[in-house]
Symmetry: C2
Subunit: 239 residues, 2 copies
């Protein structure tokens, strides 16, 4: 397995991502973009990209803010995230830049792209689904917020949607879950939502406790199960 930096641009913004793949494999294979949480691109994303490479796909860690900017604490992360998320068109453009960069790699099949994301990155993944980006077959949100200012339009969304939700996540209330279901059904999207019991925000992050905020905690069961569900989901989407 090989992990390399992968630089790309969104307009004037320099984005510093990474890509993980099996350098001994030949032929084009599916690629999956990982949109990070509000802290930006860090070791967690790198580790998950390497896991995707082990599954036979090309895993790309995307840079949400530019110049691989990382937040030093939750407060700063929320500030950066809000500045990005306030403009859904900008979010979509930012994710599209990552999708296009990944699709341009010689080992990637540009017609079999997935996008997944954590927290803010889950929100970003839903935005690129709503945008109907070319080649994106499926998106997975892990504990992402689900609301949008630009709801999906019927016939636009080509990607299947898989949402992994902590049932007790105070940042993603049940009304948001119901709202997404309604939005996606109206838009004719093939979607699934999995709700996990006793699970709050950031449930995939083993270091969640270090963030030191209420409603944020690692949950090994939900992390393991949602990872498996994601692999099965993309497996179907890429078939």
């Amino acid at each position: 397995m090989k992990t390399e930096t992968l630089n790309y641009k969104d307009g004037d913004v320099n984005l510093n991502g990474l890509v993980a793949y099996d350098e001994t494999a030949s032929g084009k294979r599916p690629g999956v973009v990982i949109m990070p949480d509000a802290f930006g691109i860090g070791p967690f994303v790198k580790e998950r990209a390497a896991r995707l490479a082990k599954l036979g796909w090309v895993g790309m860690g995307a840079d949400p803010y530019g110049n691989a900017l990382m937040a030093k604490d939750l407060q700063e992360g929320i500030k950066y995230a809000m500045a990005l998320l306030e403009n859904p068109a900008k979010v979509r453009q930012r994710v599209r830049a990552a999708v296009e960069r990944l699709a341009s790699l010689p080992q990637v099949d540009p017609n079999r792209i997935g996008v997944m994301g954590y927290c803010m990155g889950g929100t970003c993944s839903l935005e690129i689904a709503r945008d109907g980006a070319a080649g994106v077959r499926g998106i997975v949100s892990f504990h992402g917020t689900l609301a949008t200012q630009l709801p999906a339009v019927a016939g636009t969304v080509k990607a299947k949607v898989h949402v992994c939700h902590g049932a007790d996540d105070p940042f993603v209330p049940v009304a948001q879950v119901a709202g997404l279901a309604e939005e996606m059904t109206k838009a004719g999207v093939d979607w699934q939502i999995v709700s996990y019991a006793g699970t709050v925000h950031s449930f995939t992050n083993p270091d969640a406790a270090s963030i030191g905020a209420p409603g944020i905690a690692y949950n090994k069961h939900a992390d393991d199960h949602s990872w498996k569900a994601m692999t099965a989901f993309f497996g179907e989407a890429f078939a």
Copy 2:
């Protein structure tokens, strides 16, 4: 694979079930009870039991009404189902009789029992989870109704709970889904609910159209996906 009749009793009621297993395998293995829909034990249950046997488990089709009674149409099925479901204690006893019969088989590990069910059978599966029956590690409901007159009591439920839900099922409104989540969380249960887009009641039944009722339809995607999710779920529960 072998499928045989399996007779047992619930008090004075004669129950005529079936069991499917790999007769060439040796050693004790997990067993899974299938609680049928309101039509009673028929070819669909037999086919799913055989599929469970192919997975290396022992699949048992349970008889919900006695003497393998089957409803001739939906109206009759609803009449039979309501007579059974009006008394949750009776439902639990009826399922417990099946669990105990399955657990008594020489090829079954009595500590690794699963119960799954379709429509009314999903409701029955949830009741046996609430009852905390010995050896039952997990239950799966496919388009079952989720409400109960006897909510789960904290500390009672030992089984993990996996609910497969059609997001547009008119018989299982979203308030019931939320109610189950609340009930199960209060009771400290490890649960998951998967909601499938564009999916109504009886989504696992390829002959659902022949029932000829609104809100009832087969959905191949939800059927395939929920079957895979069930196998992964029981795989974890039996580990």
